[in-house]
């Protein structure tokens, strides 16, 4: 087995991983950096983000306002020290990206433009038309090409972390082109592997978002934090789950039910605002969790529009006019036309809530460090937590930058601390065991169990029991189903025995990761007997700060369900209050 020695290994080359790589290279050109990704960096799912990245830019905005929107939006489950750090760094990071060439949309005087997003008091979302994530990713990737010390391993699939002596020693990964296992030795590893939306059937997440890094850390003994908080985005296209960005509503798009009625006013987000004059933090610019929940209620009342792909409501942008749509929302225009056959200039487009983002993830502290020495995590796979119980739209792209950099800085500090030492013998032993496990997947006896069946049953169980609204009995069923599916998964045999670019093999590894992550979601949701942010329990409808103003921590227990315990939320200046999105306030 080939061994590659580095100072820091980064797993994942999306927005977070690339930002970390650049920060490492800038910190010290002598550092040996290995950047691993199961897809070419520009294929990472950051490219799909449309709307924008939040950071205080205008003189009428302030750090305090961004703080308040984030913490309130997160239903007070955010760690406030982390939020404060994040918000202070945000404008600097977005500016840095500007210097690196990101084509931010501009005001006529040449300054960077900002647009409103849901749950925000003041406009502060920097955007590059409606392809912000795409531009952010390509700007970072292209900038990373400047640095010779960043050694890339594209299409190299990480299967295991190497841990001995209570600290990280590197990881093992399969080079997809050859099927060869490689051992990456390093005293520090940064996980930037993105989210896990694929555990649900209907999601905006691409095929690669299977929670690999979350599962790797979890199995290595790092708890997964706040996994029950799964964000539904209110406006996905039916059938494909393709997202129509919140920018649609930021620009003035409105939601209507089957009667053309703007139903959000019935769910504490009224009164109705005039057409074409969106008012911040109310009606269509309310937060994502509330909007998705309102859809569910309308569906129960029979007010939705039935379509071939299930019930929908209508996103109406016709009053914006062609010019504005083509300038500000060209991608939405293209997507709706191609995938829904709707010209948004002329007609309202049917949409429904769709699984979008994992607030939870690998437990890290404010320095992006996990409890396992040498292991760091950043981006959607991590939970710092700045997102709490409901992420504010457009905070995530900024989070990739701020905490990608932070993870790099922490890793450098750790590597230089002199306390690290790779235990070669132990690492070799583990790498050999990892290789044997991979081989064992190929050697499994034939069986009737199929990957498709297990995957479909998993996503079905998640949607039924752990969707927008949850309750005890259904969550229990889901958790039970997942436990069984984890069992069944071990008997799936690979039909494809080739070593070259074998995606049946990678899918099987991904399925194992998804099942572990899904179980952590269901069990965490079952244990949280309250309603907060995106986690709504029909049997516990109130928020319960007394018992649950705490982070859930799911600890891996092998074949058994995870063990849960809790960690206090860091509160510095904002005591839990009422989330008010009615337009009636000042």
């Amino acid at each position: 087995m080939e061994t590659i020695e580095s100072d820091v290994v980064i797993v994942g080359a999306g927005g977070a991983g690339l930002r970390a790589a650049i920060a490492l290279a800038e910190a010290d050109p002598g550092l040996r950096i290995s950047l691993l990704s199961k897809v070419y960096p520009m294929r990472s799912h950051t490219c799909a983000a449309e709307g924008g990245a939040a950071g205080v830019a205008r003189s009428d905005d302030s750090m305090d306002l961004h703080f308040g929107d984030t913490v309130g939006g997160g239903d007070w489950l955010c760690d406030q020290d982390a939020v404060e750090f994040f918000i202070n760094e945000a404008p600097k990071e977005l500016t840095r990206l500007e210097h690196w060439g990101c084509p931010w949309s501009r005001e006529t005087d040449g300054s960077v433009g900002v647009r409103p997003f849901g749950g925000m008091k003041i406009k502060r979302t920097w955007f590059a038309a409606d392809k912000t994530g795409f531009h952010l990713l390509h700007t970072l990737f292209q900038t990373s090409l400047k640095f010779e010390s960043i050694r890339r391993f594209d299409e190299v699939f990480t299967t295991d972390l190497l841990v001995s002596d209570g600290r990280i020693q590197g990881c093992c990964a399969v080079e997809m082109r050859t099927g060869e296992m490689k051992q990456f030795l390093a005293p520090a590893v940064i996980l930037c592997t993105g989210g896990a939306g694929r555990i649900f059937p209907f999601t905006t997440n691409g095929a690669i978002k299977t929670g690999d890094g979350m599962a790797l850390a979890y199995r290595a003994g790092v708890p997964l934090k706040d996994m029950e908080f799964v964000q539904y985005h209110p406006t996905g296209l039916p059938a494909t789950g393709i997202l129509l960005t919140e920018g649609c509503r930021g620009e003035g798009g409105v939601l209507r039910n089957k009667d053309g009625y703007r139903y959000l006013q019935d769910y504490g987000m009224g009164p109705e605002t005039p057409l074409g004059e969106p008012v911040l933090k109310t009606m269509e610019l309310g937060p994502r969790d509330r909007l998705s929940q309102a859809f569910w209620q309308e569906q129960k009342k029979g007010n939705t529009v039935p379509t071939k792909w299930g019930d929908c409501v209508l996103l109406d942008m016709t009053h914006l006019g062609e010019a504005r749509i083509l300038e500000r929302l060209p991608f939405v225009h293209e997507l709706a036309h191609a995938y829904a056959g709707v010209d948004i200039v002329k007609e309202a487009v049917p949409i429904r809530p769709v699984v979008h983002y994992m607030m939870g993830g690998i437990h890290t502290d404010i320095n992006a460090a996990t409890p396992l020495p040498g292991l760091f995590a950043a981006g959607e796979c991590a939970c710092v937590s700045i997102n709490g119980a409901n992420r504010l739209g457009s905070n995530s792209l900024t989070e990739l930058l701020v905490f990608g950099k932070r993870a790099a800085e922490s890793a450098v500090k750790y590597v230089r601390s002199g306390t690290t030492k790779v235990d070669r013998a132990a690492a070799d032993q583990q790498a050999n065991a990892a290789e044997a496990r991979v081989q064992a997947l190929f050697d499994r006896p034939e069986s009737t169990e199929t990957m498709t069946a297990v995957r479909n049953e998993m996503t079905h169980a998640m949607e039924t029991g752990a969707g927008i609204y949850r309750e005890e009995a259904m969550l229990k069923d889901t958790a039970d189903a997942l436990a069984k599916l984890r069992q069944r998964q071990t008997s799936i045999a690979l039909r494809d025995k080739s070593k070259v670019f074998n995606t049946e093999f990678t899918q099987l590894v991904e399925l194992g990761c998804m099942l572990d992550v899904a179980q952590a979601v269901a069990v965490s949701a079952l244990a949280r007997k309250e309603s907060r942010g995106s986690h709504q329990r029909l049997d516990h409808v109130e928020r319960d700060d007394e018992t649950f103003l705490k982070h859930s921590m799911a600890h891996y227990q092998g074949e058994d369900a995870p063990r849960m315990d809790y960690l206090d939320v860091v509160i510095t200046k904002s005591r839990p209050g009422v989330r008010d999105y009615s337009g009636a306030k000042s």
């Binding site: 210097h99 931010w104 006529t108 040449g110 691409g206 393709i242 991608f331 293209e334 070259v500």
Partner: protein, 248 residues
């Protein structure tokens, strides 16, 4: 629901066990709104798990899923079956690239070329963060915006006859990206990039067939970019050779 049985002829190749590619036919019950990628996923999930191809976003932005569909380079996630002529649909890996496995091609050549054109802002001097963002008017943004839309899907390379003949040719997407940075008001690196693109394998290799711009799913217009660069390179040549005192 309107379903149609459609036969897909798909190129298969496993270098471990086969000496050359072959075609395999699959009959797929296709839904009205399906794209070719949906059919491939159906095959992979229910008919034959050994089929391999790249995809991720299913929304025409990650650039992974380029392939030849009935001989035309397309994104399989944007190739609607209803828009293709009735009858068998033939799916092959992108032309002009070595096949790694099935519909997966080797991208090393493109990745090297991308790196060679220095696709990043090269400022005159590093701007401190405290100075805030550069000013860039919407007009200045507009100058290069179109060329920044490239998703690296490589359809243009598969369409380019010149790249087929002369693999050293830097090719449409990488040149469009060069042009994108040259045109960016924040950049001062054109001279450095010129060394690469003004060579024989650079812009001059292009015979202006324009096939690249026709197949581009993002309207990047690489052919236009190359044409503009030729003009700029010619101007450079005159400046350098006939009016050396004007060189900046």
């Amino acid at each position: 629901m309107s379903q149609r049985q459609i036969t897909f002829e798909i190129l298969r190749y496993d270098p471990e066990t086969e000496t050359e590619p072959r075609f395999q036919a699959y009959c797929v019950p296709c839904e009205e709104e399906w794209v070719v990628l949906d059919a491939l996923n159906y095959i992979k999930d229910t008919l034959d798990g050994t089929l391999n191809y790249r995809w991720s976003c299913h929304m025409a932005v990650c650039g992974s899923c380029g392939m030849m569909i009935n001989g035309e380079p397309m994104l399989s996630c944007k190739a609607f079956i209803r828009d293709l002529p009735a009858g068998t649909i033939k799916v092959e890996p992108l032309y002009h690239f070595p096949i790694e496995r099935d519909l997966v091609v080797v991208l090393d050549d493109f990745m090297d070329k991308l790196e060679s054109v220095k696709p990043y802002v090269i400022p005159k001097k590093q701007r401190p963060i405290e100075d805030g963002p550069y000013k860039q008017t919407p007009k200045q943004l507009h100058q290069y915006q179109q060329y920044s839309m490239c998703i690296n899907c490589l359809l243009c390379y598969a369409a380019c006859p010149q790249y087929g003949l002369t693999p050293e040719f830097i090719g449409p997407a990488a040149l469009a990206l060069t042009h994108r940075y040259n045109l960016d008001s924040r950049d001062k690196g054109r001279r450095q990039r010129q060394e690469v693109v003004a060579t024989h394998e650079g812009v001059w290799e292009c015979s202006f067939v324009g096939a690249c711009s026709e197949v581009c799913p993002k309207d990047v217009d690489p052919a236009g970019a190359i044409q503009q660069m030729k003009i700029a390179s010619t101007a450079d040549w005159y400046l350098e050779h006939l009016m050396p005192w004007r060189r900046s």
